[in-house]
């Protein structure tokens, strides 16, 4: 017991001081002081419930990802078949029922078609897994995406979506957003300090898929009204039917251009009409394609389609060669600005829908921090007083351990990048109460051993060993509960569990090891024959 070698003391003090020192910048921040930025400054993150801000959980539609993949495959199949030598003629391609299906004009070319398609069905990875199942039945060819292939494409789409979301939020000038992908189809966006997420939601709610497609002027108004599209065309409704009419426009499905190939998009005003417009610039490749499309179709109308709705359908007056274009379509200044940001950040590969939204006003957050700190100080003060008057010198040691414990929790949270939330503050207060339990157990045991007539040294020794076993069992069960809260819980439960887990570790360390060292050193120095406990 008394044998506490120097290296052990140094080690305990090192761990203690390192963790406690890490808490200092956070304390500065909470107290509103500035910490010199040249020094390392891990600061504990405040959750939205304390800092105020918005929390949005967005979900992508997995059916849409599936459909998108089918459409991409359709494009590839067409391109491949068109390039094949000798040419393999095919009929119309359908993307219904979760598969790409088409008929060969000449069923005897089935083998040649299989060979051509084989390379398209292989997975991108090196695992040799197939992305598509290929079925040939006479002249009918069907391509069905495999689960692995779908999973991979959903993965890619979500990865891309997170990037697009990040770019958009950055361009809005938002400070320190947290953007995390959750599970297979969700994105969590947290923006501290933003108490009205309306603009943010509108920005993220727009997919911003821009397409330029030629209008099929031969389609009869009757067919269009009844929703009948000729092969190779599709019907697209207008974005503002009150102005442009309820009858959808027929456009050619293929041969258009989409907005992927933009380098820039800015909102401005049309000098003539003073209407809000968005100016876009294509990159080299897009510009060439756009020039070709406009040169070949002078005099014909083409539709500018945003997220599946026609925003305008002007006629091509002259070839547009400079790679720049202007889009008009009943924009307000704000919606033109929002569209410009979205076009410049790229289209979302999938639509995102807000399925959970939480906002906390800044005043409530500030109230919570203030009252949380007051509760913590009062609670801790009261506990320390009780412990001091109950256990004397041993109580002082326990109190010292308690203060160090609080600093260590804060320091570890800062270093680990954990977030302090409102339930986290409750966790703090609870941990302080529970940390004392270890010292209560030890001190009670020592007292008991003295009553049984053990000598001072022996009583202390037995007290620590016997109580340690109980402390261990009790903390393990606490830890199990906290770990499960962390794993399965969400939101507030998680924030609470983080503090509990860290607190369990530090309170065992401070309450058992540190006090033991102090007691041992005191016993060695003072050699008391009576314990006042």
């Amino acid at each position: 017991m008394l044998d506490f070698p120097r290296w052990k003391q140094v080690w305990l003090w090192f761990v203690t001081l390192a963790c406690a020192a890490a808490a200092v910048p956070s304390i500065f921040a909470i107290a509103g002081l500035t910490w010199p930025s040249v020094l390392p400054h891990p600061i504990v993150n405040l959750g939205l419930d304390l800092a105020g801000g918005s929390h949005l959980l967005l979900e992508a539609d997995s059916n849409q990802i599936r459909q998108l993949r089918l459409e991409q495959m359709e494009e590839s199949v067409r391109a491949r078949m068109a390039k094949s030598e000798p040419r393999i003629g095919i009929g119309d391609v359908s993307t219904k029922d979760g598969k790409v299906a088409f008929m060969l004009n000449d069923p005897s070319k089935a083998d040649a078609a299989r060979e051509e398609l084989q390379t398209l069905t292989n997975g991108a990875g090196t695992t040799g897994q197939r992305d598509w199942d290929l079925a040939i039945n006479g002249g009918l060819i069907e391509l069905t995406p495999t689960e692995a292939g779908l999973k991979q494409s959903a993965d890619q789409a979500m990865g891309a979506a997170v990037e697009v979301v990040r770019k958009r939020i950055d361009k809005m000038g938002t400070r320190e957003p947290t953007i995390i992908r959750q599970g297979s189809s969700r994105i969590l966006v947290q923006v501290p300090g933003l108490s009205d997420p309306k603009a943010l939601k509108e920005q993220l709610g727009q997919t911003a898929k821009l397409e330029f497609k030629l209008v099929d002027t031969t389609a009869s108004p009757n067919d269009r009204t009844q929703g009948v599209a000729q092969p190779g065309t599709q019907l697209v409704p207008f974005a503002s039917p009150e102005k442009d009419g309820l009858v959808p426009l027929a456009v050619f499905r293929l041969g258009g251009i989409n907005g992927d190939q933009l380098t820039q998009a800015t909102a401005s005003n049309d000098p003539k009409t003073n209407e809000s417009i968005v100016e876009i610039s294509f990159n080299q490749q897009g510009g060439t394609k756009f020039a070709k499309l406009t040169s070949e179709n002078v005099g014909k109308p083409f539709a500018i389609i945003l997220d599946g709705k026609v925003i305008s359908a002007p006629s091509i007056n002259e070839p547009i060669l400079g790679g720049q274009a202007r889009i008009s379509g009943n924009f307000s200044a704000a919606s033109a600005q929002a569209l410009a940001i979205n076009l410049a950040s790229g289209a979302l590969p999938v639509d995102l829908k807000v399925i959970e939204e939480r906002t906390v006003g800044p005043d409530l957050g500030a109230d919570s921090i203030r009252s949380g700190i007051i509760a913590m100080l009062v609670g801790t003060g009261a506990i320390m007083l009780l412990i001091a008057v109950s256990y004397g010198r041993f109580g002082i040691y326990a109190n010292l351990a308690l203060v160090i414990n609080v600093l260590m929790i804060l320091g570890l949270m800062a270093v680990l990048g954990a977030t302090l939330t409102l339930p986290g503050i409750a966790g703090f207060v609870l941990t302080i109460g529970a940390a004392v339990d270890a010292n209560v157990l030890i001190n009670e045991r020592i007292r008991e051993e003295r009553h049984r007539g053990r000598r001072v040294m022996q009583a202390v020794e037995t007290g620590y060993t016997e109580a340690s076993r109980t402390i261990f069992d009790a903390n393990i069960t606490h830890f199990i509960a906290a770990a499960l809260m962390f794993i399965f819980g969400s939101g507030p439960i998680k924030g609470f569990a983080v503090v509990l887990i860290i607190g369990i570790a530090t309170s065992v360390f401070t309450a058992v090891y540190l006090t033991r060292m102090w007691v041992a050193l005191w016993l060695r120095r003072a050699r008391p024959t009576e314990l006042h406990i």
Partner: protein, 325 residues
Amino acid sequence: MRLLKLIPDNTNVQFLKWQWPTTFLSVVLMIGSIVLLFTQGLNQGVDFVGGQMIRVTFTQSQDAPVAALRSEIEHLGYGEPIIQTYGAPNSVSIRLRLPAGSDTNAGLADAMSKRVSASVKTAHPDARIDGVDSVSGKVSKELGWTAFKALGFAAIAISIYIWIRFEWQFGVGTLISLVHDVILTVGLFALTQMEFDLTAVAAILTVIGYSLNDTIVVYDRIRENLKKYRRMPTEQLLDLSINETLHRTVMTSVTILMALCALLFLGPKVIFAFSAAMILGIVVATYSSIYAAAPMLLWLKVTSNSFVPTETELERQERLARERK
């Protein structure tokens, strides 16, 4: 200086004399909680049933104008709101179901929160909108399920741990006192109709952790004494163990309750229900570690013999060798 003792040394309270009245009390309270749970039900928050919750503080008023708010919001045509004060009498949470069709059109929920906030602000200029939570039905179902999983797994994992560390009777005793504590805590939510949300689940999980902690400390001492006093009648031995750990039990409960009371009265009002639930949970857990956990061992017939270590052949030979010397 004389040191403070909350409880005198060497108490000799015959706790188990009261085992039948207390058991009766526990059973009545548990049945009461369950009945309340089925008749009143829990006042589930948007976390678990979905919907929209708007928190408002009336900065210039003593009390929130709940009745006025109710009729104003009902006029907006979004159905009947649930309006409750939380934490302080001038703070309310207003809960509404999400309008039909908001699963596909996110704008509907937005429009609702905007109209409600605007109407509250016009009628009450001192109203401060403190936040809006919108949870779709899909997410709320998942939140409910994960919370349930967390509770279920916690109970299972902890029982396995106790079963490994102690004898089976102790495992059963722990589980029963745990169930007792959880039912009574949930019963409090049913009785007071405090909002039952994710934070409430965190409170229950904490009570589980604490209930075990307390039970384990008492059990640990019982186990130690069973080995030490092999001839003592079980009832007397249980009483002795409880008395020996009594000062600790009281000390720890008091310190934790002090911390929680500070949180309840001075702390953030948003977690008022959370603190209240934990306070009750801890009082109940302290009581159950004495009156549910210990008598359970008596009824399950724990004796010193439960702890006769099974000797291996090697140990037996060593023992015989020692005895021969």
